[in-house]
Amino acid sequence: MNNKTNKKNWFDLKVLIATLGFLFTMWLWNSFSKELATATLAENPASNISDPGMTAVNPVISNVQPTPFTRILMGGAAPQVFQTGNSGYQPITQTSSSR
């Protein structure tokens, strides 16, 4: 009986350690991802939402010569940063004003 209780306590302790470890990892992850997003925005100060009247629309805005292959799409609660790969290969065709 006593042996069983000891086993149960040890199991609970392991679960507790695993949970704390997981929470600590998630906290670190969250902290670093926020820092990365802030740093990217700082490197590209021309990117901003220019018109406060556009709140219903929230378009994605960048300057004409953005950091190469980097776009910051403003969507949802936090900025989504991703890279587009518009170099390294040729598209099969191109859309432009009637040519």
Binding site: A56, P59, I61, P91, S97, S98, R99
Partner: protein
């Protein structure tokens, strides 16, 4: 394997590509120039004997029209209705008055020709009498049609539809692109979005399945008159070239006809109204390039952009 062809028609470059497992090019690709020639002969305002010009000369009298021209008329009616009358083919006279009175290749860079640039009355397709049963059209006096981009988009759509039996197909008619679907292995077609300041460069590369994509702009079909730049996108509300802060608008839509119409609306509306127009329609995605150099991507555009390290198969 991708089979392709390229030629000139409708005053622009036509490019078509079909993807299938065969090493042999589909015979339909060889028929493509003939199809475009037939459509151009019917719908060009720069060919004196075209069907469109016969209709334009018969204003006030009912005239029976061919099936392709009737279909384009119906597409144009839909575009006019859905654009809130901002896109209509009944702006022929305003285009001529602005100086677009001949094939674009023949317009000199700077000319002083005659033409009235006053605000003038514009017609709408709803002013035209049509009889579906007999496919007859009767234009009001002083009303003339120019199908322009509508005909080009329709032609790209028709060509892609005819070619799709040979495999997944992409048809590009002067920047208006119709795609029948992804390639046989499920991969996307990649299409560049021209940088209006340097068209040999791409602003973005899009990954596209079944859809239409079109770009309208004031950056290319424009000319100088009396020292002032004019362009071919007429605002029917004024009868004059649209006063807009947009240099080019690229729109992705379910069909090329919708993409063509909505890209034109975005240019005419300009300002924040253009991005609102794209955001409010859930089937549209777009990139707006403003004259200031600002580039606005609609939210849904992110689904169509290649991420770095993603690779197309072709």
């Amino acid at each position: 394997m991708i089979h392709s062809t390229e030629f000139k028609a409708m005053g622009c470059r036509i490019f078509a590509a079909t993807e299938n497992q065969s090493r042999l090019s589909p015979v339909e690709l060889e028929d493509l120039p003939g199809w475009f020639e037939g459509w151009e002969q019917s719908m060009s305002r720069f060919r004196p004997e075209s069907e469109l010009n016969r209709i334009n000369r018969s204003a006030g009298h009912p005239i029976k029209v061919s099936k392709p021209l009737w279909d384009v008329l119906k597409v144009a009616e839909k575009a006019e209705r859905e654009s809130g009358n901002l896109v209509t083919p009944a702006i022929h006279d305003q285009l001529v008055a602005a100086g677009y009175d001949r094939s674009f290749d023949s317009i000199p860079g700077d000319f002083q020709g005659p033409g009235r640039m006053d605000e003038n009355e514009t017609f709408l397709l709803s002013d035209i009498q049509v009889e579906s049963r007999t496919r007859t059209v009767c234009l009001p006096f002083d009303c003339h049609l120019d199908f322009g981009g509508v005909a080009k988009g329709w032609a790209a759509y028709q060509a892609a539809r005819r070619l799709r039996s040979a495999g997944s197909t992409l048809v590009n008619a002067g920047g208006d692109i119709a795609i029948t679907g992804r390639m046989s292995d499920g991969s996307f077609w990649s299409v560049g979005v021209a940088n209006p300041d340097n068209p040999s460069d791409n602003l973005e590369v899009l990954k596209l399945g079944r859809c239409g994509v079109a770009t309208s702009g004031t950056d290319y079909r424009r000319w100088k008159r009396d020292g002032i730049w004019h362009h071919h996108i007429i605002d029917p509300r004024t009868g004059l070239p649209a006063i807009t802060d947009i240099l080019s608008a690229t729109v992705i839509a379910p069909t090329i006809m919708e993409a063509e119409m909505n890209s034109k609306v975005a240019v005419i509306l300009g300002g924040e109204a253009a991005s609102s127009w794209l955001e409010e329609n859930p089937v549209l995605a777009g990139i707006l390039v403003y004259k200031t150099g600002r580039i606005v991507y609609s939210h849904r555009m992110q689904h169509f952009l290649w991420r770095k390290n993603e690779r197309p198969s072709h």
